[in-house]
Symmetry: C2
Subunit: 410 residues, 2 copies
């Protein structure tokens, strides 16, 4: 592992000399290479699908694992879209002249070597490889073992394109040891690896955060809330709540708990329930909720659970203060929304809640790079530092100061 | 420790509601309280000085430890200067409207609870406490045990000012257990602590980086180089080299190794040596250097040593390429300088070297918040992410997205 990462580190220097034009040409060739080699990719994927069946993977997981012509085309298009992004390296982020007459430029640069740990979907392999290459970073990929054959086939195609362009294939590679021990080693190699991005289950992320000596930007769970204030337009509020829960329940920006102001609970809850019933959402509620509508009872543990499913906790709260208290206690700092027409209430909520994204009168489902207009996204960070929330390709850069003098000394 | 940090965490919410005017008023009161209580501070410091003498601390350490009227006045002025800084929280860093019509504002916010681990100088206690308070962060301070009495006296004065203003004293506190075990606990409390900033010796920093589960922004060593190219104005080059080494050898942005282009070594080295001899610098050189001037021989280990003293390694290299190779191998990513008149050579150096600050024709000694014009500095970060190089008060903030909708759903 150490020798492998050493190579990755030294390969990173090649990237600092590549022009944007060359990088984009190589990316377009990678996209085409995926198209040309689609039969090989589908064959490799078939092995994973067969293993998955043997290991009784769930239908949802099998679907995420599958590669077909349509998905391979989508992967190719995604790489072309990444090629079309504005060059992320060398942007002048700030600049000024100091008292001593030094001209300082704060310039974006690549991070270096980035280790990415993820699960099931094979398209993540090509997406992340392309994002890292575009931002002049070396990537070291550790996909899920259930997709090992597919990931290897994809990496082989991308590496062949690198070599055809006289670039070291170690710019994009899968970790040689994809066992638990391999991960354990990878996350301690701060000498060679500059950043680890874990995307996956809570267990994986906790393990990485607890044990890494490399810096980590995690993509953790979203325990998201929507609070309907007494001064909300109820029709909007219900639309927003339904959207936040049901449009795609399996993602991190979906709502898990709906908080309703006690001042309107009596009239609002039956209307809310009627709409959720249409969407077949399973509702759980606090005692006050149960006094008004017929729902199962909710537990403290439920308030702390990311269902990733069409299940919703409901709680009646006494105004925005109690809503904030609930979110401070149970929120995961991802996305939180208030629905109200009152500006003071709105700003109190938006300013008090410490989350990556805080919404007024909109669905939490908008927290992603696409909706934010970032073009392509690395993921949705739940870190508090470096990159927070939707992480565009600039999240794969850091900066240095270039300082131009004319003989200055102190 | 856990209960103590729990209090710190919950106190952090108080800060989100404080106005800038109130914060600045409290800071000015803190400055005056230091002045009013200077006798107590000097008494407490006398205990540390007596212990220091008993434990045979070096003269340099004893000097760093000392508090007198002049230094207490300087601490008070530093707090007043921090009060005068522009409000760091609530800055709109970016803003746009999305396709869906959502108005997104990226806004600076406090990080939360910041643990700072540092050594000897008691003024760090008041400086960091003021910087954290100004940026609406709670600070948990762990100073050196040799300054324990002084730090406690300073913290007591600052806390009294907080309480006089009806603010919880847990906004500024010293860790209750300042032993090694206390530090071990502190750096694993990611539930309550959002950032650890270690400032101190290599051993401490390595220990914190290896064991923390909390995010770390480290202030590590500076292994800084200056490369004199064949196209340098030699007079400037010598001035810059002398300044980088001798103006204050004990700091992290001082030069440790001077690289000289072989094309000019024969004529330049004697001139360089003559100036360093005047400054009583002890010179060590590579074989090629020794063929030209009479210096001790340098070892590989020397190239890797931060002397913090008036000692300099010298090496003759074949042009900018070999200079870059040397720096890639031995540099610590802090500050690196080239002296040349050739733009192509200059840009090759500035772009190839991965360091927080890269200089053309200026001394590496400029890498600090003051010289950069940041007003006050938290320190000089050797992190690659979050804050790199001189870390102004914005380094104590992160951001969130405030999103204003009008009923949008996906």
């Amino acid at each position: 592992m150490e020798k492998f990462l050493q190579e990755a580190k030294s390969a990173s220097r090649v990237l600092s000399l590549l022009s944007g034009a060359k990088k984009n040409r190589v990316l377009k060739e990678m996209a085409n290479a995926l198209r040309v080699n689609k039969a090989d990719l589908i064959d490799a994927n078939a092995l994973d699908m067969a293993d998955g069946k043997k290991n009784s993977l769930s239908l949802a997981l099998m679907d995420r694992l599958l590669l077909d012509e349509v998905r391979i085309e989508a992967m190719a298009v995604a790489i072309e879209e990444i090629a079309a992004l504005k060059e992320p390296v060398g942007r002048v982020l700030d600049g000024w002249v100091t008292e001593a007459g030094l001209k300082i430029e704060k310039v974006s640069i690549p991070i270096g070597v980035i280790g990415i740990i993820y699960e099931s979907r094979p398209n993540v392999t090509s997406d992340t490889a392309a994002l890292c290459f575009k931002s002049s970073n070396v990537c070291v990929l550790k996909g899920g073992k259930e997709a090992q054959n597919s990931n290897e086939a994809i990496a082989k195609v991308l590496q062949a394109t690198l070599e055809k362009n006289s670039l070291p294939k170690s710019l994009i590679s899968l970790v040689p040891d994809s066992s638990r021990e391999g991960v354990a080693k990878l996350i301690k190699m701060d000498k060679y690896v500059d950043l680890i991005i874990p995307r996956g289950g809570e267990g994986l992320i906790k393990y990485v955060c607890d044990n890494a000596t490399v810096s980590v930007v995690k993509h953790d769970k979203g325990q998201c809330h929507t609070y309907i204030d007494k001064e909300a337009i109820l029709e909007d509020a219900i639309k927003i709540a339904i959207n936040a829960k049901t449009q795609r329940p399996g993602v991190c920006n979906a709502m898990e708990t709906l908080l309703v102001d006690s001042a309107i609970a009596k009239s609002a809850l039956p209307l809310i329930k009627a709409e959720f019933d249409k969407a077949n959402t399973k509702l759980k509620g606090c005692l006050k909720t149960q006094e008004i509508i017929d729902v199962e009872s909710v537990t403290e543990e439920d308030y702390d659970t990311e269902y990733l499913d069409n299940i919703l906790n409901m709680r009646v709260v006494d105004g925005v203060e109690e809503a904030i208290e609930h979110i401070v206690r149970f929120g995961s700092g991802h996305s939180e929304a208030i629905v109200t027409q009152n500006v003071t209430t709105a700003e109190k909520f938006l300013n008090s809640i410490d989350a990556a994204a805080v919404y007024l009168n909109a669905s939490t489902r908008f927290t992603d790079g696409g909706s934010f207009g970032f073009g392509a996204e690395v993921g949705i960070s739940t870190n508090k530092l470096h990159a927070r929330g939707p992480m565009g390709i600039e999240g794969l850069t850091t900066y240095k100061y270039k300082i131009y003098g004319s003989g200055q000394t102190r």
